[in-house]
């Protein structure tokens, strides 16, 4: 029957494994921004498909970027929100 045919979503893959030259670095906040939510939370690897090894270093790099004000910890404190409230 038709309902037996399940929709198979596109298989997730680790972007850092697929492209070895892709830098996983706290300085590249533009890449790290793909792995955090709009509110700044780190997205689980269950959802992004990142492998365990790269997720571990990704977490460290995101935290370093937050430390250096390249990424925000949470939107409440972000520059965009602060500017609007002034």
């Amino acid at each position: 029957m038709a309902f037996r045919k399940k929709f198979t979503p596109k298989r997730k893959f680790c972007r850092f494994c697929a492209d070895k030259n892709m830098p996983l670095d706290y300085k590249r906040a533009d890449i790290l921004r793909d792995y955090i939510t709009e509110r700044g939370k780190i997205i689980a690897r269950r959802i992004t498909g990142t492998c365990a090894k790269h997720q571990r270093s990704l977490t460290t790099e995101i935290k370093r970027a937050r430390q250096m004000a390249l990424l925000f910890y949470t939107t409440v404190h972000s520059t965009d929100v602060k500017k609007k409230t002034i």
């Binding site: 670095d25 706290y26 300085k27 590249r28 906040a29 533009d30 370093r64 937050r66 430390q67 250096m68 004000a69 390249l70 990424l71 925000f72 910890y73 404190h77 972000s78 520059t79 602060k82 500017k83």
Partner: protein
């Protein structure tokens, strides 16, 4: 034994050009005095911060890449803490030797440069950030 390190400094945007150079040259002087090897200084210029630091929303980033013995990092960080005008810093150990011309990271605020080079390409491939 020498390790590879990089230190990213976040300096006050209100610092004058010569004060900033003095701070950086002071730190490089300390690195070289203690037997470290400096790579060229990577100056990112003034950028908008993700969140305000000391009530300022902009900051000047400077990256120092150097080779030094492990015990020296504590000494460098002690000096950074003493120096006025440095808001934040982070020291990271690098795996590979510092390259002479390490590519500067492209941030969202540096986008206009890319637009000038290829205005047509930007139309064909719209960025998800703007959507």
């Amino acid at each position: 034994m020498l390790n590879n390190y990089e230190t990213l400094l976040l300096l006050s945007p209100e610092l004058a050009e010569e004060n900033r150079k003095e701070i950086v040259s002071n730190l490089t002087g300390i690195i070289e005095r203690d037997g470290g090897i400096m790579a060229p200084i990577d100056d990112w210029g003034i950028r908008t911060l993700a969140y305000p630091v000391r009530k300022v929303t902009r900051g000047h980033y400077v990256r120092l890449v150097f080779q030094a013995p492990g015990a020296f990092v504590a000494e460098l960080e002690r000096n950074i803490r003493i120096t006025d005008g440095i808001f934040k810093f982070v020291t990271v150990r690098l795996d590979e030797a510092p390259k002479a011309a390490d590519e500067a990271p492209k941030a969202a605020d540096e986008a206009p440069k890319a637009v000038d080079e290829a205005p047509k390409a930007a139309d064909e491939a719209p960025k998800t950030e703007e959507a």
